[in-house]
């Protein structure tokens, strides 16, 4: 059974304090890994897709990386507006089944 574990469950940062969010996975046949941002009361908003180990993608203060066992979402000099829940999901199998982790709630204090 595919498993996705995100850590830590919650993270509180001071504005400007860089950190990383972890997504580790145990799956058979990874076809891709997604990162999302979710604000309260809203649906997840797509951030990145990573397909192979060694791949990196960046968007503003966010950078996602992928290894064979885990992915990191690095946040550089975060701002209060980066506060949200960050979700990762793995795509597996011929039918592109998606399995999500429980998410990491990030709070950035001014």
């Amino acid at each position: 059974e595919d498993q996705v574990t995100q850590s830590p469950e919650a993270l509180r940062l001071q504005e400007g304090e860089s950190s990383s969010l972890n997504c580790s996975y145990t799956v058979s046949g990874l076809r891709g890994l997604f990162w999302y941002r979710q604000d309260p009361g809203k649906g997840p908003e797509f951030l990145f897709t990573l397909y192979s180990a060694g791949e990196e993608k960046e968007k503003e203060r966010l950078k996602a990386t992928l290894t064979k066992k885990e992915s990191f979402l690095h946040i550089t000099a975060p701002k209060p507006e980066d506060s949200a829940t960050y979700l990762c999901a793995v795509v597996t199998g011929a039918n592109s089944k998606l399995t999500f982790g429980k998410g990491i709630t990030l709070s950035v204090r001014p």
């Binding site: 076809r31 891709g32 997604f34 999302y36 009361g41 809203k42 649906g43 997840p44 908003e45 797509f46 897709t49 397909y51 979700l87 999901a89 795509v91 039918n95 592109s96 089944k97 998606l98 399995t99 999500f100 982790g101 429980k102 998410g103």
Partner: protein
């Protein structure tokens, strides 16, 4: 281009009632998914579909049914609603490997009393 739309936004059901949650996408995506999200539990996959006429169970399919008669629509049916089905339901669509984004709808908040 509306993306993924879901109706209704909110609904309160009595135990034993039935309802259908509607999901429509206008991106011609083959892959569509239904999730439920409970506080602190992340997104659990209920059912998914790889194209019209093809559906498959996810992690938590009991108490739900789906159909996929067209590429655009993927309704989720709740029969005999139970309090355990109180949740927020999200529909999503995906173009497939190499096509990057998976788009989510705004969600339906369902309460069963």
């Amino acid at each position: 281009n509306a993306g993924v739309t879901q109706t209704p936004k909110f609904r309160i059901l009595k135990i034993g009632q039935s309802m259908t949650l509607q999901c429509t996408q206008d991106m011609n995506h083959n892959y569509m998914y239904w999730y439920r999200q409970d506080p602190g539990m992340g997104l659990k996959l209920i059912y998914y579909s790889v194209g019209a006429g093809i559906t498959d169970k996810g992690e938590v399919p009991n108490g739900y049914n789906v159909s996929r008669s067209t590429t655009e629509d993927f309704p989720l049916r709740l029969e005999l609603a139970a309090p355990s089905q109180t949740s927020v339901y999200f529909c999503a669509s995906y173009g497939g490997p190499g096509l990057n984004e998976q788009f989510f709808g705004p969600g339906t908040r369902l309460t069963v009393l």
